[in-house]
């Protein structure tokens, strides 16, 4: 940029001459190694590998798109917004649960194949698509909606900034299942409610406008509830929204204890 500092930058980047200003986006070859499963053809899962040229600005999702659109249209995965909001494309990338749309290829080790697998612990339907029903069943059971029996006020139900702050972290959840499917306790038998359900219970338990905290604490005091958490922090590491999941679970544990005492 120092060489062009005397030239006024145009109002629109489109007006920039090629090769001026922005600089080249580096490109590199990557090997994408994807776990494939199609029960219509084989009960056995297999690995497929493609070597493709990608750019420094590309994400794992872009690599998946390149394969699906240009090489193998049968590659199956979920994605919707492609910008880290909808939570559709949680996958196991290089052994860690990540959103494919938020993982930049340049942040991974491109000298080795980049492995992409479906998230663990849920029944696989095809390639990277898993059956999310058990996950949402647990979510439904913790009643993820405001319960307040007092008559509705004419305006909003008011809340102080501090009261809102209390559960701010857990409002960020996008239900991508990255946390629940990274939990070793959930992998065993899938009976555990899982971090995501507890996070969403936390969001209402600590909401001053909600009256059903006790009900939710009762649900999570189950033998498959919060007490199965072993604080391995896999969920906190997996969360693409940076929610302190393990901390939220600990707070729910504490709330159940306090209520019992």
């Amino acid at each position: 940029m120092s060489t062009t500092s005397d030239v006024a930058e145009p109002a629109s980047k489109v007006d920039l001459d090629q090769g001026e200003g922005g600089g080249e986006v580096p490109s590199f070859d990557i090997t994408l190694k994807v776990r494939r499963y199609d029960p219509e053809f084989s009960e056995e899962a297999r690995w497929d590998e493609w070597t493709i040229t990608m750019f420094g600005t590309d994400r794992v999702l872009d690599a998946m798109h390149k394969v699906k659109w240009e090489i193998d249209g049968s590659l199956t995965f979920r994605r919707s917004c492609a910008h880290g909001i909808c939570g559709s494309d949680a996958m196991r990338i290089n052994g860690r649960n990540r959103l494919a749309c938020k993982t930049l290829l340049k942040d991974l080790d491109t000298s080795k194949p980049i492995t992409v697998e479906p998230i663990k612990g849920l029944p696989i339907e095809k390639d990277l698509i898993v059956d999310m029903e058990p996950f949402f069943q647990s979510y439904r059971e913790i009643m993820p909606f405001l319960i307040n029996s007092s008559p509705a006020p004419t305006a909003e139900r008011l809340q102080s900034a501090e009261e809102r702050q209390r559960f701010d972290d857990t409002t960020k959840c996008i239900l991508c299942a990255a946390c629940t499917s990274s939990c070793p306790v959930f992998w065993t038998d899938g009976q555990y409610f899982g971090p995501a359900a507890i996070v969403n219970a936390h969001r209402f338990i600590f909401d001053s406008r909600d009256d059903a905290g006790d009900l939710r604490l009762e649900v999570l005091n189950d033998k498959e509830g919060v007490w199965r958490c072993r604080t391995t922090f896999n969920c906190t590491d997996a969360c693409p929204r940076g929610i302190e999941v393990t901390k939220a679970i600990a707070e729910v544990k504490q709330a159940i204890l306090t209520r019992a005492m």
């Binding site: 219509e40 029944p123 339907e125 059956d131 029903e133 058990p134 069943q137 070793p184 306790v185 065993t188 038998d189 899938g190 009976q191 005091n221 189950d222 033998k223 498959e224 509830g225 007490w227 199965r228 072993r230 544990k253 159940i256 204890l257 019992a260």
Partner: protein, 169 residues
């Protein structure tokens, strides 16, 4: 995938329609929650863990560091300690807490790692029986420990340790 909802199967293909609301029964919780047992177990692990740190390190210190150190430990040393009700109580609490803490920890590991119900029940069965035997035997030993055994005529047996002759004789 083990349940088949007949209405959700496309007759031409024999393939279940997606999103038909079926859930693999292995994911369905039995619903018979065991009250607050898991909470009590969780709390017990924390409290007994803290207590055990004190119990075990005082135990190690008195046995290995005080007096003649490791050279003092023999049959007589243990007998001497258990003649004192404080050490009887100390060792009893240590035995029970350590055994229950360990058993509950193993129970947790079995719950987390055993995938089949039958394996889980079998392993837990072995665990609980083993723990019960050890707790019972240990408790019995602490309270009935008798280093200086005598025969029917009141004479010390030949196999008793040397200090018995000083104590009794």
């Amino acid at each position: 995938m083990t349940t088949k909802n007949p209405e959700a199967v496309l007759p031409a293909h024999g393939i279940e329609a997606p999103r038909s609301g079926r859930i693999d029964p292995k994911y369905l919780r039995s619903g018979s929650g065991s009250g607050s047992f898991e909470m009590a177990a969780w709390l017990f692990m924390r409290i007994s863990g803290l207590a055990l740190i004190v119990l075990i390190f005082v135990h190690l210190w008195t046995n290995l560091m005080m007096g003649d150190g490791i050279h003092q430990i023999d049959f007589g040393f243990v007998a001497g300690k258990w003649a004192n009700p404080v050490w009887q109580f100390w060792d009893l609490v240590m035995l029970w807490l350590a055994m229950l803490h360990g058993t509950n920890g193993m129970r947790t590991i079995i719950d987390d790692y055993a995938e089949k119900d039958r394996t889980r029940v079998a392993l837990k069965g072995i665990l609980f029986v083993a723990s019960a035997v050890i707790i019972t035997l240990g408790t019995l030993v602490i309270f009935t420990f008798e280093p200086c055994l005598m025969d029917s005529s009141g004479e010390l047996l030949d196999s008793v340790p040397a200090f018995c002759h000083d104590v009794v004789g």
